[in-house]
């Protein structure tokens, strides 16, 4: 499988004859789509999912329990089917609305006894890391089990609705040296930064583009990254300081964005540029 991936990447980066901008963009996109289709049978995310499954079932942490026997993602203890597409949701035991990654971290800390700061020290895979952090593998495993299901963030729950509306306000908030908010780049249809298309996350059609394919295998670098990472990196581009890992500011944004994508089918962990 590793071979197919590098061949795919070589194809993508292969020498292309000089083209006009539109042609070049179309060609790049066509190559990417072709690669993505070819990859569908051997999705590189599956490697991470398999690792995640092992970690989910293994007794771990100071309390020596598995997540399978202790962690409730909203569908009952240990149940992963359909959980990812129905989050963020409110968890009474934690007294908070949580997205999938935040909830799994919560279980690792509360149920298994791991130290939050240890997890938060390096929560995302870096370009030079040979493997992804456990939490990324776990999120990928859980996400895979919502493949083919519609997003169903329970917005009729007032606590979830509050998170949604707060998230909406956060995406509008302009500050920093460049006066940027999420909406500077993602607030209008059909905009681009350089050649990259920017989904308008305030619409159903744009929001699904913003949530689809996450967690995603990044072809540039060959690493696996979660939705939490995507928001973290966009705050960097926004010239803001760094959002705290697995904090409410991210959950609220994810509630807003995923809520806007409600009803549309999740295709499972995917491939990102």
């Amino acid at each position: 499988m590793k071979n197919t991936i590098s061949i795919g990447i070589a194809l993508m980066l292969g020498v292309l004859p000089p083209l006009t901008f539109a042609q070049e963009k179309d060609a790049t996109e066509a190559e990417f789509e072709k690669f993505r289709t070819e990859m569908e049978d051997s999705n590189p995310a599956e490697l991470f999912e398999m690792k995640g499954e092992d970690i989910w079932n293994e007794k771990r942490g100071p309390k020596n329990v598995s997540l399978a026997e202790s962690c409730d993602l909203g569908k009952g203890v240990g149940v992963v089917k359909g959980a990812y597409a129905a989050m963020p949701r409110y968890f009474a035991d934690a007294g908070a609305v949580m997205d999938a990654e935040r909830r799994i971290v919560w279980c690792m800390v509360e149920k298994q006894g791991f130290n939050f700061d240890d997890i938060a020290k390096k929560p995302f895979q870096g370009r030079n890391d040979t493997s992804a952090p456990d939490i990324t593998n776990l999120v990928t495993y859980v996400a895979m089990h919502s493949k083919g299901m519609p997003f169903a963030v329970p917005l009729d729950d007032p606590k979830v609705k509050d998170a949604y509306l707060t998230g909406k306000e956060i995406t509008k908030y302009r500050a920093g040296p460049y006066d940027f908010s999420c909406n500077t780049c993602h607030g209008v249809d059909g905009k681009r930064i350089r050649m990259q298309n920017l989904p308008n996350i305030s619409t159903a059609a744009g929001a699904i583009k913003g949530v689809q394919g996450w967690p995603g295998y990044r072809m540039t670098g060959g690493i696996m990254l979660t939705h939490q990472w995507r928001i973290n990196d966009c705050f960097r581009q926004q010239r803001f300081p760094e959002p705290r890992y697995a904090s409410e500011v991210i959950t609220d944004i994810l509630t807003y964005m995923t809520g806007n994508a409600n009803g549309q089918i999740y295709n499972g962990p995917g491939i990102k540029r």
Binding site: R174, G176, Y178, D179, R192, R194, R236, F240, D252
Partner: protein, 209 residues
């Protein structure tokens, strides 16, 4: 107190009054804007050059945040004029520099993120948002195309002054513009802005060929 300080103070209190007004109307429902501010204050940590002070909205950002980027016209006018008053035009009155240097600056998007080295120089980011020279095919579309701007609108002293001012402080002409205030925040100096004016207005620049 000089006159500038007085208008500034007046506008700050006006802004405050407006924000207070908006708060009262929003009190009916839980105020998600206020909640968002609390969370933003709590859930970030400084990293690299990006300190927590960056989260504080200045008066322009605050009023744009409060009004969905559409402040009442009278306030917008007054605050735009205050922003215009911050534009420092070069003493020698020369507003066009070297378009080739301007092109390099327009290409670079480096600067101000927590991964970037602190301090200057930083890039202009212009191609991230604008079509400019026809030779650069990878351009963003958040801002309007600037291709042939000099050919179409000329390079009269007034036009040069406008473009210099727009780059220095975009909010002087459109209070809630999505374009950064490059001179106002000290990202670009006067010579760099002159080079960008040349890129856009010099008849020799590829932009106007």
């Amino acid at each position: 107190m000089n006159t500038k300080a007085i208008t500034l103070a007046a506008s700050v209190s006006l802004t405050a009054a407006l924000i207070a007004g908006a708060c009262t109307t929003a009190m009916v429902a839980p105020d998600h804007h206020a909640r968002a501010l609390e969370i933003i204050k709590r859930d970030f940590k400084p990293r690299g050059q990006a300190g927590l002070d960056r989260l504080d909205a200045d008066p322009v950002q605050a009023i744009c945040n409060r009004t969905d980027n559409t402040p009442p016209v009278s306030i917008a006018h007054q605050m735009q004029n205050e922003q215009l008053a911050t534009v420092a035009y070069p003493a020698d009155g020369v507003l066009m520099g070297d378009w080739k240097k301007g092109e390099k600056l327009a290409q670079s998007g480096k600067g101000f993120t927590w991964k970037d080295k602190p301090g200057l120089p930083v890039g202009g980011n212009c191609y991230n948002c604008h079509q400019i020279s026809p030779k650069e095919l990878s351009f963003g579309t958040i801002g309007p195309s600037l291709f042939q701007i000099g050919k179409i609108r000329g390079n009269t002293p007034e036009m040069q002054k406008y473009v210099y001012g727009k780059i220095y402080n975009s909010k002087a002409f459109n209070l809630c513009s999505e374009m950064p205030r490059f001179g106002h925040i000290g990202a670009l100096d006067s010579d760099q802005i002159k080079d960008l004016v040349a890129l856009l207005l010099d008849p020799e620049s590829p932009v106007n060929k």
